[in-house]
């Protein structure tokens, strides 16, 4: 696994080197900070509850848009410039490359989320906090990010155009984020159940309410594994 880690470190450095990282962090904090603390109608002060549910709800959408922006260049750019050839002829397997790329995006998101921990500290001063619910909310965000990163990597692995990769990641993502839930709402019986199970939002909400169910964990992990597996297959075709 060492090569995957070396790749992850390089990618993470590339994010911070090219200012993409700072741009993403600042935008993310600006969005989530505004809606969590300042938006007036619907923010924490309006609800008068010492929890971060508002933040989790906003972060779910900001991450949905930001993660494809992180993942789009990962494999697409390497394919476009040909560096993928150089990378894959080094002592790494296709799988290690995909894992390394995944890890770098995941760490990038984790760093961004870690910077929102002052929100947590702030609300502990504002009232009685359900610490379990906060941590499981963060866990939910990390799992959701992992799922979208693997979808984004897959999108990036099948094209050499970053814009296509970005839009593709969003259009696959929108089903999990939103559409499966809508479809489930209009269906009954088995099909309704199926789509409701597929909806990422449903699983995310159950975790961010503080209930960590193995079903939800398995759901997120299977999206991650499937996404990474498909990316691996896609880069092994050459």
């Amino acid at each position: 696994m060492k090569p995957a880690w070396i790749i992850a470190k390089r990618e993470l450095n590339a994010y911070f080197d090219s200012l993409i990282a700072y741009f993403i962090i600042v935008l993310f904090l600006a969005f989530s900070g505004f809606f969590t603390w300042l938006a007036g109608n619907g923010d924490i002060f309006f609800r008068k509850q010492a929890d971060l549910n508002v933040f989790f709800g906003v972060a779910k959408w900001t991450l949905f848009f930001f993660i494809p922006a992180l993942t789009m260049r990962q494999l697409a750019e390497e394919k476009k410039t040909g560096t993928i050839e150089l990378l894959l002829t080094k002592a790494v397997t296709d799988r290690q490359v995909v894992l390394g790329k995944f890890l770098s995006c995941f760490l990038m998101v984790a760093i961004t989320l870690a910077l929102t921990l002052p929100y947590y500290i702030t609300i502990t001063y504002l009232g009685k906090v359900d610490h379990g619910a906060i941590w499981s909310g963060y866990l939910g965000l990390l799992l959701l990010s992992a799922a979208y990163i693997s979808i984004g990597l897959f999108a990036s692995s099948i094209t050499s155009n970053q814009i296509v990769a970005f839009l593709l990641a969003l259009s696959i993502g929108i089903f999990f984020q939103f559409l499966f839930e809508v479809i489930a709402g209009g269906m009954t019986g088995f099909i309704g159940e199926l789509f409701s199970t597929l909806s990422l939002s449903m699983h995310f909400e159950s975790i961010s309410r503080g209930v960590i169910d193995s079903k939800d964990l398995i759901y997120f992990l299977s999206i991650v594994v499937l996404g990474l597996y498909l990316s691996e297959i896609s880069i092994s075709k050459r």
Partner: protein, 307 residues
């Protein structure tokens, strides 16, 4: 490590890029891979590195198949267009390549400095690769290929974009490396092959059309000796007649009557230097020049690949 290529085949759709190629490269040998554009050089090299899967056949390095992927640490590869991470500083990039090729952590810094020195990157080492000229990027490409001290070097057009001084340096470097490593390099520049390679492999339309040392190939193509001579104190027609009557000579051509220049072709497997000299002594002609005309590698190449 020896490289053994057995019945390599690769098609892109209906087009056969590599058609049943087999050859062997021994340790300490520098093999020059020649061929017109689209002959299958790059495809073959990509298959040797294990990057492209082969349709049929196998590549064995040190007796082990590249299909297992276990040999990657033994191979240093410089791809055709020298793709590099342009945003990275040279030193960081080389350190990354060393780390990923499994160079122990404690040895990385030294290896990077070695490569910077060997490839003459000293003045540019802190720049980002994007800021380097093409020649310096090529040096970075060579440095990354050699950073883990591989037993096998696969270099796809290693000297493109280099200035003449750099080309000489890189050739010397390759020659030096070739003493203990197995090197396969492809190129369009024919003098380069003669200067660097022990052996030449010419491929055309996915097939091997020639294989041998540069000198051998030239001799094969030549077949018969051609001498360019210049005489003094002789009559044009007289000299032509006398030369043509020599037993070893098959044809005489007057290339410049006023300067008394002739092209003399010998019979196959026959050398006529001595006969010409003796004729001149006998007739009291001055033999001012006698130059053996060699078939150039260019001619060999053209003969084999144009059809």
């Amino acid at each position: 490590m020896d490289i053994l290529i057995q019945h390599l085949n690769k098609s892109y759709g209906p087009q056969k890029a590599v058609d049943d190629i087999s050859f062997e490269v021994k340790t300490g040998e520098i093999l020059g891979f020649l061929g017109p554009n689209g002959a299958g050089k790059t495809t073959t090299m990509k298959m040797i590195t294990g990057y492209l899967p082969m349709d049929l056949g196998d590549v064995l390095i040190g007796g082990q198949s590249v299909k297992t992927g276990a040999l990657k640490k033994q191979i240093g590869y410089l791809p055709e267009n020298n793709p590099l991470y342009l945003d990275m500083p040279v030193m960081d990039y080389l350190a990354f390549c060393a780390a990923i090729q499994g160079v122990p952590h404690s040895a990385i810094a030294n290896r990077v400095l070695d490569m910077v020195q060997v490839c003459g990157l000293g003045a540019e080492k802190h720049k980002r690769i994007r800021e380097l000229s093409k020649g310096y990027r090529q040096r970075v490409g060579l440095a990354q290929a050699m950073i883990h001290d591989p037993a096998v070097l696969i270099l796809d057009e290693p000297t493109t974009g280099l200035d003449p001084n750099q080309i000489v340096e890189i050739r010397e470097l390759i020659r030096k490396l070739g003493q203990e490593k197995t090197v396969i390099l492809s190129t369009h520049i024919l003098p380069e092959v003669e200067a660097t390679c022990d052996r030449i492999l010419i491929i055309n339309k996915g097939k091997i059309v020639a294989d041998g040392a540069p000198a051998t190939l030239r001799k094969q193509a030549q077949g018969r000796q051609v001498l360019q001579i210049r005489l003094e104190d002789a009559g044009v027609e007289d000299a032509r007649q006398a030369l043509a009557n020599l037993p070893g000579v098959s044809a005489v051509e007057i290339s410049n009557p006023s300067e008394l220049r002739f092209d003399v072709q010998s019979h196959p497997e026959h050398l006529s230097n001595r006969e010409i000299f003796e004729l001149c002594v006998q007739r009291k002609w001055i033999l001012a020049e006698m130059i053996p005309l060699e078939t150039k590698l260019e001619d060999v190449f053209r003969d084999l690949t144009v059809n």
